[in-house]
Amino acid sequence: MKKNLYPLIFLLALIVLPLLLRQEYYQHLIILFMMWVIIGSAWNLLAGYTGRVSFGHAAFFGSGAYAAGLLTYHYAISPWWGMVTGGLLATAVAFPFGWITFRLRGAYFALATLALNEVLKDAAKIAEPLTNGMVGILIMPTFSSKLPYYYIILFMMVLTILCMRLTVHSKLGYYFISIREDQEAAESMGINTTRYKMISLCIGTFWTGLAGAFYMNYMGFIDPSVVFSLQDLSIAAVLVGIVGGVGTIYGPAVGAFIMIAVQEFFRSGFFGLFKYFADKTGSSAFTTVSEFVKTAHTLGFGLLVIFVILLLPNGIVGDWPKIKRKVFRIKPEN
């Protein structure tokens, strides 16, 4: 019971939060955070539990987004139907891809996913009659308030995490982990490794595609360079996983939170803190520091990633005992 206590408190907080925190700016940030929890968790199932790192998760995210967008664009079907088709299309892309590439070991699979990402991006650009090319797809958002989106993505996030927990703690999860630890050994024990890798891939990509479809609904606009972005999605998904902790249920959530927070913290100059100092003291030094900080959000995150890999190789959640130990050891000296 104690194990579930913190997640439940956290969930309750998320349910109540938008009612207390009326500012839509924060609601928007939390929506993005929850979307990233889904993407990160989905990536983590494949990478963290099954040991197959994907460097091209944007391929599945984009497929989901386009599934939703194209339904609306061509057939005027509500993009919410795309939520289902988005997940399914992403899985449909993943299936043959996994079939071909799962015989590749280690880093080769990672590179193949990267290639898939690039191929789909260019294909979406070229297939102009179908996808509207780089002009992109624009739809009218369904709700003008943030709250419906907030609770939809919250619901999806809870489902994703539940799905991850059920999967990981079932027989499937043990198969996944045994594949990650030693594929040969798993095979010799009679586990059909290709099959279980496929299952892991399909579950992971389904949720990623769903997140993509949600993005389409929420943002109302997609184009190939946005939803198939290597830097902003594929690599970001990997970094979210690493910072939070691969192979842990709640690691991606921590990673997603840190990524969104760092980005917004830096972008807004620590939420206007520096500007406040500058206005208060009239010193130009604060203005300079503020400019400095504002341009450094990607740098800040990059440094954080290096720092985490060097010192906390299993991520913040994975190395939590280590952090705790270190903190406890330092404490008496204080």
Binding site: Q23, E24, Y25, H28, L29, L32, D122, K125, I126, E128, G133, M134, V135, G136, L138, M140, P141, S144, Y215, M219, G220, F221, D223, S225, V226, D232, Q263, E264, R267, S268, G272, L273, Y276, D279, K294, T295, H297, T298
Partner: protein, 399 residues
């Protein structure tokens, strides 16, 4: 633990004091939110636009602001990403409580912001985002100062019709929203003129080598090569055309890339005699255009270009609307913007509806040509600063 708690208390108190003091101190100003790419790969233009906004702001406030109140600009960085742009605008609307929004460099970011502005009923004057769709949604709170991508080739079309009368043409365009829509509309124009289109080809921006495609173009020997490219691709295209000795009757650039000083610097001699469509260059006959250009140069010690002028003009349009608005509430400002009829360094501004578009500023386009390293306006005739050089001299006969 204790120091940590102290710290926490201090921070909370501090945060509360920020909230408490920030509001009354700034209530005297009229807040205008500006969303621009200040970091990331588009930051170079975001910077020019921010400087221009700042310049216009200082000028307006030095003259006493609007109705005795000063304008305050709140810049937010969109980093070139739509979701971050949206975060930025959410913050502007819900925290800073701005009365007007402007900015918007990339189409993707601008589109994301338009929907939000419409939902929240905050007027949004789009500065640069050029996708046609931006003003095709019937949003009553969205205005746009720059013409949509599809209208850029208009001056070129009349030049072709009256002077060049080409038989064959080739279009090369960068695979972006802007390239795709403006090349498509130029294709339509060519069809109307009865010009045979031999090839229409997209390329990915920042390509290393255009020789393969240019070789194919050379073998077709077209009368006209029309290119929609950004500055470095444009320079590379012209350099490699020269290297391959491709000699059409004329090279025409369909967008901003071909008119910038960097284009000339990088293409060197290969830039000469190249035509380009443009909305604005410092030599266009708008009052204040040259003035703005010189002031910018003097203040920031760097060159500006049409993106900057758009930004500069935008704030003047907003100030003009604020002056006429009944109150400073967003809906009154919207009404004032809708009845805008003013002259700026970027040209006359008036928001009209035509075709599918609503509240769109219509501007004539010009044609410029590089002549001996200088950019001259050559078309339409009544505003030309120099005569055009046509047909283009073959590369090998040039000195």
């Amino acid at each position: 633990m204790k120091p940590a708690r102290k710290m926490f208390v201090f921070l909370t108190a501090f945060a509360l004091s920020v909230c408490a003091t920030a509001v009354p101190a700034l209530s005297q100003t009229i807040k205008v939110g500006v969303v621009l790419p200040l970091t990331g790969s588009e930051a170079a233009f975001g910077e020019i636009e921010r400087n221009s906004f700042q310049m216009a702001l200082d000028e307006i406030n030095a003259k006493g602001g609007v109705k005795g109140r000063k304008i305050e600009l709140i810049f937010e960085d969109d980093t070139g990403k739509p979701d971050v742009g949206r975060s930025a605008v959410e913050k502007l609307i819900s925290q800073d409580k701005v009365s007007v929004l402007t900015g918007g460099y990339s189409s993707a970011v601008s589109i994301g912001v338009t929907a939000l502005a419409q939902q929240k009923n905050i007027p949004f004057l789009v500065t640069t985002g050029s996708a046609d769709e931006i003003t095709e949604k019937g949003y009553s709170y969205v205005f746009r100062i720059n013409p949509p991508a599809s209208e850029y080739p208009e001056a070129v079309t009349s030049f072709l019709q009256e002077v060049v009368k080409p038989k064959t043409a080739v279009i090369l365009y960068e695979n972006t929203s802007f390239g795709q829509s403006s090349s498509k509309s130029f294709e339509g124009n060519l069809k109307n003129l009865g010009v045979q289109l031999l090839l229409k080809e997209a390329y990915n921006a920042n390509a290393v080598d255009f020789k393969p495609i240019l070789t194919r173009v050379k073998s077709m020997n077209p009368d006209l090569i029309y290119m929609v490219s950004y500055v470095m691709d444009a320079a590379l295209l012209m350099r490699q055309s020269k290297e391959l000795d491709i000699n059409p009757q004329l090279f025409v650039g369909g967008g901003a890339g071909f008119t910038l000083p960097e284009f000339r610097e990088n293409a060197q001699a290969a830039a000469d005699n190249v035509f380009s469509a443009t909305l604005w260059s410092e030599s266009v006959p708008y009052p204040g255009a040259m003035d703005y250009y010189k002031k910018y140069n003097a203040r920031f010690k760097s060159n500006t270009e049409y993106h900057g002028t758009e930004a500069y003009a935008c704030l003047y349009v907003i100030a003009d609307a604020l002056q006429r608005a009944r109150t400073f509430s967003p809906s009154d400002i919207r009404d004032a913007l809708a009845s805008t009829d003013t002259k700026t360094a970027f040209g006359p501004v008036k928001f009209v509806s035509y075709g599918k578009k609503t509240q769109q500023n219509r501007l004539p386009t010009f044609m410029v040509q590089w002549q001996r390293g200088k950019l001259e306006t050559v078309w339409p005739r009544n505003v030309a600063t120099k005569g055009y050089i046509f047909p283009t001299t073959p590369w090998r006969e040039r000195k």
